[in-house]
Amino acid sequence: MNNDCKILNPPVFSALLLLTFFLSVLSLSAQDAQRITGQVIDSASLAGVSGVTVSVTGTNTSTVTDANGKFLITARPGQTLRLSHIGYEDNFYIVESGSTSITVSIAAKSKELSDVVVVGYGKQKKVSVVAAISTMNATGLRQTPASNIGIALAGRLPGLSVLQRSGVPGGEQLDFYIRGRSTLNGQQPLILVDGVQRDFNALDPREVESISILKDASATAVYGVRGANGVIMVTTRRGFSGKPVIDVTVEQSWQSPTRLPEMTNSYDYAVLRNQVEIQNGRQPIYDDVALEHYRLGDKPDLYPVRNFVKEFMRDAFPMQRVNVNVAGGSERMRYFTTVGYLRQEGIFKTEKFNEYNYDPASKANRVNFRSNFDIDINPSLSMFLNISGYMQKKNDPVVVPNNGVYLNDVNGYSVVIGSLLQTPSNYHNDVTPDGEVLSTPLKGGNINNVPYGMLNRSGFRNTLINQVTTTLGVEQKLEFLTKGLSAKVIASYDATAINQQVRQRTFQLYEAKPDPNNPDAVIYEPTGTLTNSTLADAQSQSQWNLMNIDASLNYGRKFGLHDVTAMALFNRYQRVVNIELPYNYIGFVGRGTYGYDNKYLAEINFGYNGSEQFAPGHKMGFFPSFSVGWVASNENFVQNNMPWLSFAKLRASYGQVGNDNMNGARFAFLTLWNGSYESQIGNSNLVWEKANKYNIGLETRIFNNFSFDADVFYERRNNILISATGLVPTGVFGTGGVFTSGIIPRINAGEIENKGFELVGGYQKSFNAETRLDVKVNGAFNRNKVLYISEVLLPEEYAYRLRSTGYRLGQQWGYATDGFFNTEREIQDWPDQSGIGANPKLGDLKYKDTNGDGVVTEQDQVPIGFPEVPEWTFGGAVSFQFKGFDISMMWQGVANRSYLMVGQRVWETYNFNEWHKEAWSQERYDAGLPITYPRLDPGSNASKLPSDFWYVDGSYIRLRNAEIGYTLPKNISGKIGAKSVRVYANGLNLLTFDRYPVKYQDPEQNNELLYPVFKAYNVGVNVSF
């Protein structure tokens, strides 16, 4: 680290703290006590408020205001008066020397008005927020029995798409998109936990207070060069003054895959296999005797009848969760502490391998902990400390395919799933009578990867993750300088260590052969090059850490009807990942807000920050945003004429935000040399991509029961970093060529626009103290368009000469189909499509000659459907409480999405599924039976090219979660000393409706071999003491 910049070094940090203490000590200088007369007034009506408790903090002195709000008390300068009253926000007043007659206002605690929203580097009253921010509270998280809280976000936050790609225990993959996609490079939003860029997947839902997404420039400009893709902010729970509340939750879930492929049984497999052979003019493989045995399943050693998916995957697997948290505090110290425990098992059936006494079962155990403290050291100095973390221990089978290459869990499970799908049901048993791993079938193709062996005989892997995250914050009021001024320093240090132990072995494969002496018996012979080995040990470790410091100066004061706040903040961030070069950011952040009479709001935010991704002189960028708001419902004419409109706010924002993500590339400004060749041609002019964001929003409450919010946005992203292929003649540039391809310089030239809207409607009604209904629906739409990515125009013969420009990001391409070739005549009459595959045969897909040149070639490809990232996302939640009962559910869905259904789960490459029974065959065609699949033709062939036949509608709607709970009457819960006892049952992904032609895979997944996504049924009990 550079000597001049030691902010993250301990000495400098301590010096900063010392400075802060020094400032606070200044304000503690003791002076004589003085008598103070005063009045407490309502901040809105300015009338005196009676019954307000006025106390000198840190002493026993207190009094209560009279009918006019007047009071009399004795205090020393520097001491703080606390004013508290039911229905009002607490207010504080610092006694100044000589102030003997004072007026202090307190603000009524109306629910709407007092709601506080977390914004970038601070908090704001909800009413005065002029940015597009959506927030969900933790209730929704708790209703979703998932091991990863990201899963619970889907459908809750308008504008956020969440797609769960895989369900590996402790290794779920989730993709988040805020307002869709606007760039070719890093798409993922910035994720912050308590203001620091951190991973939130492993948080326990019960340590979370709320989750917000920041969508427009007004909200994200403060994050400058990292804010363009939006921000997800997770806020954890904090303590409160009062008696401790102890809260215990125990949950038990059963998870099962939402979808599993259905492969054909032995008989159907053999029939279809014969059909393929006959269609290709070969002899059928299975004779009538074999078919009959497969049908009856009466001779399984020679004619096995199996179901690999069922035999190797469990129908249901448990997850347990326990959480204990304690929150409370005194006047000057508040705390929230929690410990959570999660245990999750995996989908694959495994067996202990006795020879080495190991258990390859897939399972994960996690312990989360958190302690959040808030301490008021003195009336002007407060601090907080968050310490949290988790330990996760994960056990998996080591999956080693026959090529002997070690795979990590995601890839390993894909290979296992692939092997389950590709192994026909008439294949042999898993082990020989002697317990050796059995491979290779008697007849048919060559199966390399044996699922039994990969799961049970390749060893096991133990992954231990330890993470500790800490944040220390100190806030010093600087009232002695000027009223309303404070300084704050927040420092964070996170450390994560991952230790992986791999105990790996190889196994000898055996193959079953008919006994030459007895045709009804089999013998087993070793095959393959691998032999049974002992366990070999290997270990890998990785370590990440993160340091972040925010130092800020805040100002907030009211002058009559004028409400002014300002903030200036310095940020420094460093993340270290293993041996990679550290990732560094620095930045200044500024914010000024102005409110007049709670009616007219204006706000300026800016981030001036820098990224090491760019050349000297280009590192720092300025990202401003401007926003205004108008709370119409606070206007007299509105109140008088539209009394039904209890709240209405219009807001508008414009700003610029950046994105320095270069799709993983770092330091693209440097020209690098490999020896004496350029291995990277740097562009020293590179800068971040710029998002120009416009947003108009409306928030309303009608009759206090209905709410309707709407946001419309337009975003134009320019400077997107792209390869300069469309501008630079790569040949002449001198870095192209067959043997030297690849180092095309990058330029800031891409341009993409994205627009859309979000609508939220709500209805809340408390019919009486025991009956309450809440309904919330939201829908969000976005559509992007590539305006420029330096694409080269294809030759004129192409039906479509551009493949990206003018289309949506991720536009999919392929051939337009027109059914199957049913007769030889149709083949002859159809344009020649042999150029994109072999000469067509009966039952192949017909491709349209869209450019009309009489032959079907690559030139005839057309845009098909929608991108894989959905354009529409929607969610709807209903909850109802009656007496002790509560019931809720949440539906969630996406639309305008297309998915390319390909691969082993769909195609007949190695095995057949139920769909293939409806494949084209002469018999089916002659009989007039429905035909929904082309002629069966294992291997690659022209029918399997990307076409509108394989692109399917990827829309879905699912019952994301549903919950029913019962809270025991107080007299019963009181008997065990509890304040409240609630028992409940809930579920995740309970119902799914989609339009896939075959229901072989969860619609959120984007690869057919990914670990299945779960549904879950969960019961739990929550006790508070």
């Binding site: 100066l553 040399w673 630079v728 002449v732 080269v792």
Partner: protein
């Protein structure tokens, strides 16, 4: 208010000290930036090595993997439906350069490779002056070498793609002037290259000829050779339609400058094979420059499949590759200087034996022998029916070529697939050696190096230029130097000699075709610069020989394939579409507009 301003100022000043951009500086690591190149001797030297690195080292590297460019001409035929097949199909188009590696991405060859060579030479020229790790002498020498190399790549570009602009600096990624690049006239760029080479030559930094241990490095001889070849192209019909005699004079003078160099002399016919076989470190007086990487794999992809050797188990080769055409064989004179045949029909299937050839016993009648008493170079270059290929490594019996139908290396009638047997009845021999093959994969071959320049070229260039200038005596003298080395009679003494420019021009061209056949790019570029493509590249023929029951051979000339590769579009290669689109000022060759 003052206090607010004051306190903000103080705080901002406090914060500012942390806000230095230095925090964003890249942490030192192993990545190499230019300063690390310039302060390191090996890396600085590597700048020059890199510029050498783009020179094709194998003559089957141009056009398509394993397929020598000779197969794109009327000299040789390549079976199977790869690039050569597509080339002759007429598939060349703006978006399909044919001369590519179809399974690579990008698949384009030549154009990007030559430009890359220019970039690497420009890198050396730009950065070597800044290197602190090399001596002044090295700096001067290496820059001079890089400048010559840059001219070599320009020469290559000019041969295939016509004139292109002179670029002296490596392009920066921020360069935006692509649309301003325009083609110079051929004469302008040729003059520029000449000037550049003369500058280097006259600076006296490079030796006349590199010592044998540095044979790969450029010297004055190479610089003179590049200049001569560029000026020959500049004077040729394709680029000199107005027949500017001054251009021919420059070409003749440039050739003379090479001939004048005392360091080079022709080898005797006895040593002729040593031009193509032998270690690069063993100098040959005639060779001015040749590839320094061993090219002997060409034995495995072009030539005779010795796997049919009847006396020992020898591995089969993959493909017979380039098979000389009957047209090429017909170019080899009889030893008395007579051309053997004249064609009676447009399809070359009916011939008359010339009197001079008949006198030496040439006959294609059954039982006749068309292969006896030919130019000595025929036996170096061509393997024909019943030729003795010599003894494979570690063997004792010679391998006798049998190209007759059903013979050991017999005729193949199927031209659309890979084949180990020739479709023309001939095999190439020039840089092939039977010793490459031995039982059980053993091998006793010598290295093979592709010759870029040898002195013979410049005698024939001088002859051609003087002929065009009307100096027939000078032309004959220069031509006879080559003929005499080949042990052929002087041109004045050949049967049917006519002392005319036309006769001489034809025989000089024939001499060039024979002398340089199967040797690289000569025929490809000669067909173009003489604009004889449409006359010579419409089809080729082979010799289908059948062995009669009485052991006599009967000969049938047979058309192998019609070619579509003779149109004007094939004269100058188009700029690949992807590049052309981004350089609107760089016009495509006339036939492509």
């Amino acid at each position: 208010m003052k206090r607010i301003v004051l306190s903000f100022t103080i705080t901002l000043m406090l914060l500012a000290q942390f806000a230095c951009e230095k925090a964003l500086e890249k942490t030192p690591d192993g990545q190499i930036t230019i300063d690390k190149v310039l302060t390191n001797y090996d890396r600085s030297k590597g700048l020059l090595d890199a510029a050498y690195g783009e020179i094709y080292q194998a003559r089957d590297q141009i056009s398509f993997v394993m397929s020598p460019i000779e197969c794109l001409t009327d000299n040789a035929f390549w079976a199977a439906t790869y690039n050569a097949y597509e080339w002759h199909n007429g598939s060349l188009s703006l978006s399909n350069p044919v001369v590519n590696w179809p399974w690579s991405s990008p698949s384009e060859q030549l154009w990007p490779d030559f430009w890359r060579g220019i970039r690497l030479a420009n890198n050396a020229i730009k950065y070597l002056p800044q290197s602190t790790a090399i001596s002044e002498q090295e700096r001067k020498t290496w820059i001079a070498e890089a400048r010559v190399l840059r001219c070599w790549y320009y020469m290559s570009l000019l041969e295939f793609y016509g004139p292109v602009p002179w670029i002296e600096e490596p392009f920066e990624p921020t360069y935006t002037g692509w649309n301003d690049l325009v083609r110079p006239s051929y004469n302008d760029i040729a003059s520029k290259i000449e000037q550049e080479l003369l500058d280097v030559i006259n600076a006296g930094i490079l030796p006349n000829r590199q010592p044998s241990q540095d044979a790969r490095r450029v010297d004055k001889g190479i610089a003179y050779s590049i200049r001569a070849r560029v000026l020959l192209y500049n004077a040729s019909l394709l680029n000199n339609p107005e027949n500017d005699q001054g251009k021919w004079q420059r070409a003749a003078d440039a050739a003379q400058d090479v001939i004048n160099m005392a360091e080079y002399s022709l080898v005797s016919m006895q040593d002729y094979k040593r031009l193509f076989i032998g270690a690069v470190a063993t100098p040959v007086t005639e060779i001015i420059w040749r590839a320094w990487s061993d090219n002997s794999h060409i034995n495995n992809t072009n030539g005779v499949d010795v796997g049919n050797y009847p006396y020992a188990a020898i591995n089969h080769m993959w493909n017979c590759g380039e098979s000389p055409s009957q047209e090429l064989v017909d170019c080899f004179e009889m030893s008395n200087g007579a051309l053997p045949v004249t064609y009676n029909d447009a399809g070359h299937t009916s011939i008359s034996v010339t009197p001079g050839a008949a006198a030496l016993g040439y006959s294609e009648a059954t039982g006749g022998d068309p292969y006896a008493n030919r130019d000595a170079r025929f036996y170096v270059n061509i393997l024909y029916n019943m030729a003795n290929y010599g003894v494979p490594y570690n063997c004792t019996e010679p391998f006798i070529i049998e190209t007759f139908v059903g013979g050991r290396s017999g005729f193949n009638d199927v031209i659309s697939q890979e084949t180990q047997r020739s479709c023309t009845g001939y095999y190439s021999r020039k840089d092939k050696q039977i010793k490459f093959w031995g039982p059980g994969g053993s091998s006793g071959h010598e290295p093979t190096h592709w010759v870029f320049f040898r002195l013979a070229e410049f005698y024939l260039q001088k002859a051609e230029a003087l002929c065009e200038l009307g100096d027939l005596e000078g032309a004959k003298t220069a031509l006879n130097v080559i003929r005499e080395r080949a042990l052929q009679p002087r041109i004045q003494d050949v049967p049917g000699f006519t002392d005319s420019k036309e006769f001489l021009r034809e025989r000089i061209r024939n001499e060039r075709r024979v002398e340089f056949c199967l040797e690289g790019q000569y025929r490809f570029h000669d067909q173009r610069r003489w604009k004889i493509l449409s006359e010579t590249n419409k089809f080729i023929t082979g010799m289908r020989i059948t062995k009669e029951a009485d052991g006599k051979f009967s000969y049938e000339r047979r058309k192998i394939r019609d070619y579509q590769s003779y149109t004007d579009k094939y004269l100058v290669m188009p700029i690949p579409l992807e590049d052309a689109k981004k350089m609107t000022g760089m016009l495509q060759p006339a036939a492509w507009q």
